[in-house]
Symmetry: C2
Subunit: 411 residues, 2 copies
């Protein structure tokens, strides 16, 4: 008998109607002989509403109290889903993270799972029941309620799938799977049937919103088969597997990201340890750096550029300003009018021609490249924000991503 | 140092503004040297909203799941109150019922406290912190979340006050205390300074909405001093004490209740066991009976009347219909256009004249009495619903309840 962990949240359970529809689906799935464990995150925008309420009540918000507040959203969704299942003749029980056996560290608002002992979940399954587990939560080693962070319900689902040795972990979302690029920008974007963990990680790291990166890392580390699929059409979506892309595609997808700014520290003295000083200072200031590019040295001085989230630009600027002397640098400037376009594909490892084709395609479309960064399975270019949609469309077209991989002309 | 258990809920914490105001008050109370344990029930109408959501999602609503859903309201209020206290420099920690040590039976939606071991609450107090406990909740002996029922937060507060040996249990509401009658009906209704548990129990049983009857019974059983007071004016309210009314008032209050219907089973054979059959049948149908009156027998037949909540009339009618043969009865009729007016006072025990004065007052005002029921400290009359306000006003006037007891003329 197949054991599935199915995770629902957000718009998938955003209204009473949606909750009933999910319950219909789960009931059908169970009648077909599957054993099912559900994981629920909060309904619709509830987490945002709870955060707004906290803002209205207090300015200092201890993590312990925030976690007590926020985890209520998942708990509510679980109880309602369980009721809807009972209505359909399916015996179901809701469980908080603590009841489900999630023990975490004491790092409130972003707790890490230390131990998972889902004995009550196993008991419920053995009794033919459907356990419905509150996502993104647990109990800390000092017995307080903890929250695993935004997107933590995906991690809850993956961890349960691992501990219960489930056949698959299905993450239901409001999109039908992972696409070759953003379907809102490129109408003939193609849903990818299978993708590797590494490719998906590069995609989530460069602007693809779902699933949460941490859950993909967890799934890769423990060999949990992920299935990203739609809670609206219910048709099969994208499988994410350890083995890598079964399609052997050279290129899987084009992604873009407009959430980061480009910062450039100019006239830095080109001597050992300068980059280390710069990025240690930024790390100490809790600035999240993504791409880093250091230009060639001219007469003993160089420019170092990097990208940071828009909301961290001020913090990053202040941090760099404080060490301009140490760096021997002329100054630091931030440019928010940039976007990143990335090409993702496991097949790139052995195909240096991919990057060249990418740069040519952009040049042919009059798009200037301001920064370049590559990994084994990704090439990213920073371009003007106004040109990013054109960049995505032209690359999707050039690499024939709208065509199934086996039918593409080789590039 | 004084230890106070303070309970807030409903409109008292109905908005972010209200939560901040309660936090201001608690902070001041702590600065004056009091040690404080807070109990919170859900904000405003949140419990009703959760119930409505459940109705929208499912028709069969298992108690276990309802409790998981409903207790979220208290939990949310606790977390927000704790944050607001932190904002004012008061170290505070929220606790669920389970964390606070409330162990209950497995009777979901209306669980009873079996054991209370508030070790975490004591630890928090010893560390100079303010524990904020989720009202009306606990963990059952089989490790599920339980709800103590509507109004259960008062019981939570009283139980904690008892277990911690607190100096008083303060129940904060949207009214300034217990009144000699409903101030909305009678403008010169008087706030009672002190009242006995028995008197308050009779009042809550006959239409006075607060505090919850079960918490008063608990407080009486364990000798917890209750103080019913306002979360809006913050001035002292009504003390409820074991010793009885310190004022030695003959009559304390007039209350009224329009939530019940009068049902009459007519032509019942007047023989032993008939009433037992009737009320056992109603009890088995989960009908809550309040007043019971059996009229004098005429030619071997009698009428039996009783009051039931409006929403149980159909259930009660069906139950009685099913045994009309056994009762040898002609039929059963329900009358929803009735109201009950009650006179409450410990002093009535030894003053039979009180009932007479009550009946005369009603008669002089043209108000017909349809049923009468008395206890040692209460006389209740069922009258037409349209006349109940006049009945309350005339009785309040006749017994001079607007005047402090020591200044009243003896009746």
């Amino acid at each position: 008998m197949t054991l599935l962990v199915q995770k629902f949240g957000g718009t998938s359970v955003g209204s009473p109607d949606r909750i009933r529809e999910v319950a219909d689906y789960v009931a059908r799935s169970q009648r077909r002989g599957n054993r099912i464990v559900l994981v629920a995150s909060a309904m619709g925008k509830e987490t945002d509403e709870l955060l707004r309420l906290a803002d209205q009540v207090a300015s200092s918000k201890p993590g312990r109290e925030m976690d007590m507040l926020i985890t209520g959203g998942e708990r509510k969704a679980c109880a309602l889903l369980s009721m809807a299942l009972h209505d359909r003749g399916v015996d179901a029980d809701s469980f908080t993270g603590s009841q489900a056996g999630f023990v975490t560290d004491t790092n409130h608002q972003n707790a890490k799972i230390i131990k998972l002992q889902p004995s009550r979940i196993r008991q419920a399954l053995d009794a033919g029941r459907v356990p419905v587990v509150g996502g993104s939560q647990g109990v800390s080693t000092d017995s307080n309620v903890t929250f695993l962070g935004r997107g933590g319900s995906d991690t809850t689902a993956v961890a349960l799938a691992d501990a219960l040795n489930a056949d698959a972990c299905e993450l239901y979302t409001d999109v039908p799977g992972v696409f070759s690029t953003d379907p809102r920008l490129v109408p003939n974007a193609r849903r990818i049937d299978k993708i590797s963990f590494d490719e998906l990680l590069e995609m989530t790291a460069t602007g693809c919103p779902k699933p949460a990166m941490r859950s993909v890392e967890y799934a890769r580390a423990y060999g949990v088969k992920l299935h990203v699929r739609s809670a609206f059409s219910w048709v099969p979506g994208t499988w994410v597997t350890e083995e890598g892309s079964m399609e052997n595609a050279l290129i899987s997808a084009v992604t873009h990201d407009t959430s980061e700014a480009k910062m450039t520290v100019s006239g830095v003295i080109d001597r050992p340890g300068v980059a280390a000083t710069l990025f240690r200072t930024l790390a100490d200031a809790d600035v999240n750096i993504d791409m880093i590019v250091q230009n060639v040295s001219e007469q003993g001085h160089t420019d170092i550029s990097f990208t940071v989230p828009h909301q961290q630009v001020d913090k990053a600027t202040a941090a760099v300003d404080s060490i301009l002397d140490v760096l021997g640098a002329a100054g630091v400037v931030a440019d928010r009018q940039v976007a990143r376009v990335s090409l993702i594909g496991a097949g790139m490892r052995t195909n240096p021609g991919v990057a060249a084709t990418m740069f040519e395609t952009l040049a042919n479309n009059g798009i200037n490249i301001e920064m370049i960064s590559t990994s084994a399975i990704r090439v990213s270019c920073v371009v003007r924000e106004t040109q990013v949609e054109q960049a995505v469309a032209s690359l999707h077209d050039a690499f024939e991503l709208h065509i199934p991989p086996q039918n593409r002309a080789h590039i």
